[in-house]
């Protein structure tokens, strides 16, 4: 009987002829066993199009299946594969090894997140802060009835916030933020950008409520405008700009 190939089998870059190989250094840390992070090195064949995530999956398949990494969509949509690649927070599935211009690629877990194991980190703080700013439209008339009409918006009104709705909650901005590194209660650039996204939405009526939530001692005012969040955002959200625009509301320059 003919054998059907297993659907779990993955095609990785090692399956095709490879012109080059690089050294992939993977941070290994298990908080239950280890006291410190160590690095394991693997020689991985790469092509021009090989992404860092593919290289890690190659290592998992051929060398060490115990490397912990979180991923899902492989197309910069789910926000699962954030990690520090050669010192900068990036999405592993969205970073081609060829664009790093280095024969050694070091991958570490995102900074400012507690490590579960190796490259996988906990997202509790990010999601809690995200929920805290009420990331949904607040209106009195949200009940959908038979005569409900669309809530129309002009292109100009949409322009005000559309860029900020591209956030995939990958946490790279929080990982790059210097305030997040020292202030364990800081709400963070991701949540602040989302607060702006809803405050600037002409359909939303929860502006005062949301501004009150972020107007506390570990809220919006702890941002020092380092701008690193916007530099690392893979979706062009620009959280630093969102934070400054939100401040405009609080200082009375915007209404």
């Amino acid at each position: 009987m003919a054998q059907t190939p297993s659907i779990a089998e993955e095609k990785t870059s090692s399956a095709v002829s490879s012109s080059k190989s690089i050294t992939l250094r993977i941070a290994r840390f298990n908080p239950q066993k280890d006291s410190d992070t160590s690095f394991m090195e693997f020689k991985v064949p790469v092509e021009k199009w090989t992404t860092v995530l593919e290289a890690i999956l190659d290592v998992k398949k051929h060398f060490d299946h115990s490397v912990a990494v979180r991923y899902s969509c492989r197309q910069a949509t789910c926000g699962s594969c954030g990690m520090v690649i050669n010192g900068k927070p990036r999405l592993a599935c969205f970073t081609k090894i060829s664009e790093l211009n280095s024969d050694t690629v070091t991958v570490e877990p995102m900074h400012n997140f507690p490590i579960i194991r190796d490259l996988a980190v906990r997202f509790d703080r990010l999601f809690n802060s995200h929920h805290k700013v009420k990331p949904y439209l607040i209106r009195d008339d949200t009940d959908v009835s038979s005569d409900t009409k669309e809530i129309l918006q002009s292109p100009e009104e949409l322009e005000q916030f559309i860029q900020f709705s591209n956030c995939i909650k990958c946490g790279l901005c929080n990982s790059a933020c210097p305030t997040m590194a020292t202030d364990s209660s800081f709400v963070g650039p991701q949540a602040l950008a989302q607060a702006y996204r809803y405050v600037a939405d002409s359909r939303d009526k929860g502006k005062d409520n949301r501004l009150k939530i972020i107007d506390e001692s570990h809220g919006i005012w702890r941002c020092h405008f380092a701008g690193s969040c916007s530099q690392v955002c893979p979706k062009g959200v620009d959280p630093a700009m969102g934070i400054q625009l939100l401040r405009g509301y609080m200082l009375g320059f915007r209404s």
Binding site: S184, F186, D215, E216, W221, R222
Partner: protein, 131 residues
């Protein structure tokens, strides 16, 4: 038990109730005002001879000239508010915790009041003839 003067308690209560945006508006406002007044202060020093400005007699003379003493007093208040709020922000970012944060906020307000009182004391002593 240590009892704070009534105005200190009133101030602490006010600080406790203030929203962070109000505090930061004061922070930015005091910085801008201080820049303007310090510029006036430096200009006045230049007109009166910079080198002797810290000599004992010249300091006493300046304190006796009330408009200038008033300017110095306002600069002292502005810089104390701005400086101690800046210190509070730095300390809040350094470490977190309910008791620690309360201690930092109250400590900074108390230190600010202390510095303003100490600076004002010199002006008052000169003008009441105690020096």
């Amino acid at each position: 038990m240590l009892r704070l003067p009534w105005y200190t308690e009133w101030l602490l209560c006010l600080v406790n109730k203030m929203r962070e945006s109000h505090i930061m508006k004061i922070h930015y406002g005091t910085a801008l005002a201080a820049i303007g007044l310090v510029a006036v202060h430096i200009l006045m020093r230049l007109t009166q001879g910079f080198a002797e400005s810290l000599e004992y007699e010249s300091v006493i003379e300046n304190y006796k000239f009330l408009p200038y003493a008033g300017l110095l007093e306002i600069i002292l208040i502005l810089l104390s508010i701005h400086g101690f709020n800046g210190l509070r922000v730095i300390l809040l970012e350094l470490k977190q915790g309910r008791i620690y944060e309360k201690a930092v906020s109250y400590g900074c307000v108390a230190a600010m009041i202390g510095l303003i009182a100490y600076g004002s004391r010199t002006i008052i002593m000169v003008n009441t003839g105690m020096i």
